[in-house]
Symmetry: none
Subunit: 236 residues, 2 copies
């Protein structure tokens, strides 16, 4: 299950360490937003919804605890993991007071961090069924349920979609009536942009067109050399 990548806010002022950590997490299927200090961290937090925050404690301007408090005021539930330079008792206690879910002493093992992230996400997973609406799309007379991977026509029998079909259609739906660049799908879904993945994508476009045939007001147009466009004609 790596359906949607969870979004992580990483606030770390050391540019080298921060970048490496971000890349490592990205490699592990997480979407990471990296802020270089507490101020920036809070700005980014306000602008987006995160599944987890990883905060460095020692930072200029605004330390991790202060940031955590602000974050808690906005959202009492986001899990927070602190990165502390050393095992200072005061830090640890302070961290728990502001509602830390865990903390790690630098230097730490990246695998351990991953385990902690997984454990925490799972803990939260059960009660976050709330935002399931993000996976449901209306496309003309079709209903796409992108979480359960099926497509219904006129409220009838659902047709099962394969993972790739599903993700591609979802991406098209997200850009409904607008250009969905080839490159976007290839990097997001295929994670590689070359001749073969590109051909593979064309095959999937053909499959989707078949699925969408029942509604003649829905079609996938090609924009030569650019990408595809999911069009829904609204005739009254």
């Amino acid at each position: 299950m790596e359906e949607l990548n969870k979004k992580i806010l990483l606030v770390e002022d050391d540019p080298n360490f921060g970048t490496v950590l971000k890349d490592y997490l990205t490699m592990n299927e997480y979407t990471v937003v990296h802020a270089k200090n507490g101020m920036e961290g809070f700005e980014k937090f306000k602008k987006d919804d995160f599944d987890l925050c990883i905060l460095d404690v020692m930072m200029p301007y605004k330390d991790g605890f202060t940031l955590a408090k602000e974050i808690r005021e906005k959202n009492a539930d986001v899990p927070i993991i602190f990165l502390t330079a050393k095992a200072m008792k005061e830090d640890v206690l302070k961290g728990y007071k502001v509602g830390a879910d865990d903390y790690l002493n630098k230097p730490f093992d990246s695998e351990v961090l991953l385990m902690k992230i997984k454990a925490i996400m799972q803990r939260k997973a059960t009660d976050s069924v709330a935002d399931s609406k993000q996976f449901e799309f209306k496309i003309g007379k079709f209903d796409l349920n992108s979480k359960l991977r099926f497509l219904k026509f006129n409220g009838g029998e659902p047709v099962k979609l394969s993972p790739k079909e599903n993700e591609l259609l979802r991406l098209l739906a997200l850009h409904e009536n607008d250009l969905m660049p080839r490159e976007l799908a290839l990097t997001k879904i295929w994670r590689d942009d070359n001749y073969f993945t590109s051909r593979s994508m064309d095959v999937y476009i053909a499959k989707l067109r078949k699925y969408l045939k029942p509604d003649e007001n829905v079609e996938i147009l090609n924009i030569h050399g650019e990408g595809f466009r999911l069009v829904v004609n609204q005739n009254a």
Copy 2:
């Protein structure tokens, strides 16, 4: 939220350290049962209900991990904290695999332990409010009593379920009509996600399907690569 004293099982072979720790926790309003080794620990665990287990990893006869696994078989939910002699990565990862909630490196600060205990108890308190009551499910024409582990069809004779059958069906029921991710069942019920546990789970799905056959409006669907979905068709 002031409630009755939480009961803690402390398994620690060092008599001096164990006694001191027990006294310290007792002073802090916890009821502590102290076992001197893994064997004794498991005996005491079976005889009582605990809110938390604190297990030393290094113990003669039966180490903390082995004990944890046994405990998990009896009770999938008790929080477990490990005490490890040093920060060995393998130990930490192993701990998480058997479902640790936290771990502490000796020597540790007693106040830190207290905070962790509080944090964990609180966590359990909040998310167990949600689903602790849920041991009874109506699944189409079936009634599942997950506490007594039986399944009734049309109010008839109850069929006994094994622990794994029961937990799996319960998890599916909790996600009725929605995706129940493979990984969730594997980590929650099997406590490990590998090829074999995964196959084992498939075997259990087959068993459940047999049980559910009498009601043709109830079925367990597979979502390839994601998990399963317990569907109840409501036709009037």
